[in-house]
Symmetry: C2
């Protein structure tokens, strides 16, 4: 049975997609079977892996709203053991369409159940909101990774996200827990980054990953070539930090 | 009659709130009467001006969903001629609540009509999505400023945002036009920034602001003190670029 992990934070631009693509790629590079689900209408995880979600009918909207079988929506990436369920613009309307659908919070969970046995890990890239799409991801997942940009607004929003996770755990998904808080875009030359790290260490000492993702321009360049950073520039600090994160992610799994 | 300007982009973390706070502050510093409306449940524009939206019942949710008079929701900031309508977490539920309300796209426009004559400019800080909240802002506004981070995903999302603006113009608000595209977090040391600038200049030569906002850590520090950057560090490149933007914004207004 696979482990389903949501990558969520309602704050925009904190590195959710960058983490979703590069953590799943790093795990796939070590021969683990991984599925990445793009649950954001922006479809950045899709284009970041070189897949155009609009080109065909195979996308998450079809499985979530039209109830088509998710296994038909799975496509290949440049890494043999990394598969993707792409997104496209239609998903933007899903928020309103979901409101009046039966079991509206459990639709992604039901869709993923059809394919769970084929993968060791399933990651879900979430949009920047605490909407029904993100709630679907938190219901389908056993754990949440929270990318946290080393900036003030991102830190300010963390409390709200953790309260929402707790609410989903109490009412919809008792098995949900915080897998870890991942510090991203850390710039050791600037005080603000250090202040945020101190603050998070103080309040969430047990949830914070030891691995910290540095600000590294290669992480921003890789998506324009439709490739994860380990295929774009494996020696870059960005690629090395996500490979380290993958090792830490696996070692945490063993400990449980 | 005031000019109402929405600051929108569904891509997260591109500098919407930073632009909303610092452009409105720069205009208020030159004695223009300005109102900033925080339409994001994250309430970053509120906290970035030192206002706690949850502390009282005076917030945009009350005016938008509960139909209370907007003039009761207006509060002071450190700048005499800058006022704010704060946001709070209740707004996160507004998306679902708006779906079944009458005139759901026109509610913000109706609320703002009550106070338009008191301000020369009204800016609306939008959440990172093309949801009903953002549509409300695009219907209430005469113009849209699009902050664009000098990164690949932000550039990729621009086409979709402009298509949405065109749809709103055709169906809901014929007076809506693009005020300008503002390049943000420009880092002259990195190629990606230059590539994005070239690309935007090529496709949207008439809409792009001459002023480019550089990446400047002072812009990230100011919100942790609840102050706009012109009150935090007026000599910083960040503050100077937003003062320049305010001048360019005013000169564009005269030309029309
Ligand atoms: N560590 C990093 N160093 C440099 N650039 C980064 C890093 N992580 C992400 N980026 C870049 O910063 C931008 C924001 O990251 P990303 O899009 O992954 O965030 P997100 O949380 O998924 O955004 P959204 O809220 O819009 O979904 C992107 O352009 C990305 O390429
Ligand atoms: N020019 C800049 N230089 C350095 N940091 C910046 C700059 N502009 C914004 N920031 C910082 O980058 C982060 C993202 O900016 P901001 O929150 O304004 O974007 P946003 O588009 O409003 O995000 P969201 O999509 O979550 O609403 C913030 O932490 C902000 O302080
Ligand atoms: Mg993303
Ligand atoms: Mg914002």
């Amino acid at each position: 049975m696979s482990r389903i992990v949501a990558i969520a934070n309602q704050k925009g631009g904190v590195g959710k997609t960058t983490t979703a693509i590069n953590l799943s790629s790093a795990l796939a590079a070590s021969e683990r079977k991984v599925l990445l689900v793009d649950l954001d209408p922006q479809a950045n995880a899709s284009s970041g892996l070189g897949v155009n979600g609009s080109a065909s009918n195979a996308n998450i909207y079809q499985a979530l709203i039209k109830d088509l079988n998710l296994s038909k929506m799975i496509c290949n990436t440049e890494l043999a053991s990394l598969k993707l369920v792409p997104s496209n613009e239609q998903l933007a309307g899903a928020e309103i369409e979901l409101v009046n659908l039966p079991n509206r919070e459990y639709r992604l969970q039901a869709a993923l159940n059809q394919v769970r046995d084929r993968f060791e890990f399933i990651f879900i890239d979430c949009p920047p909101s605490l909407s029904l799409l993100t709630v679907n991801a938190l219901v389908a997942a056993q754990a949440v990774i929270v990318p946290l940009q080393c900036e003030y607004y991102a830190l300010e929003g963390l409390g709200r996200l953790l309260r929402t996770v707790k609410l989903v755990k109490e009412r919809l998904n008792p098995g949900l827990r915080i897998e870890g808080i991942l510090l991203t875009m850390f710039d050791r030359r600037n005080n603000l980054s250090w202040q945020v790290v101190e603050e998070v260490k103080k309040h969430f000492p047990n949830q914070i990953y030891r691995t910290v993702i540095p600000r590294n321009v290669r992480l921003g360049e890789a998506p324009s070539f439709g490739r994860p950073v380990i295929l774009y520039d494996i020696n870059s600090p960005g690629a090395q930090s996500y490979l380290e994160l993958a090792r830490e992610f696996l070692s945490r799994k063993e400990k449980r």
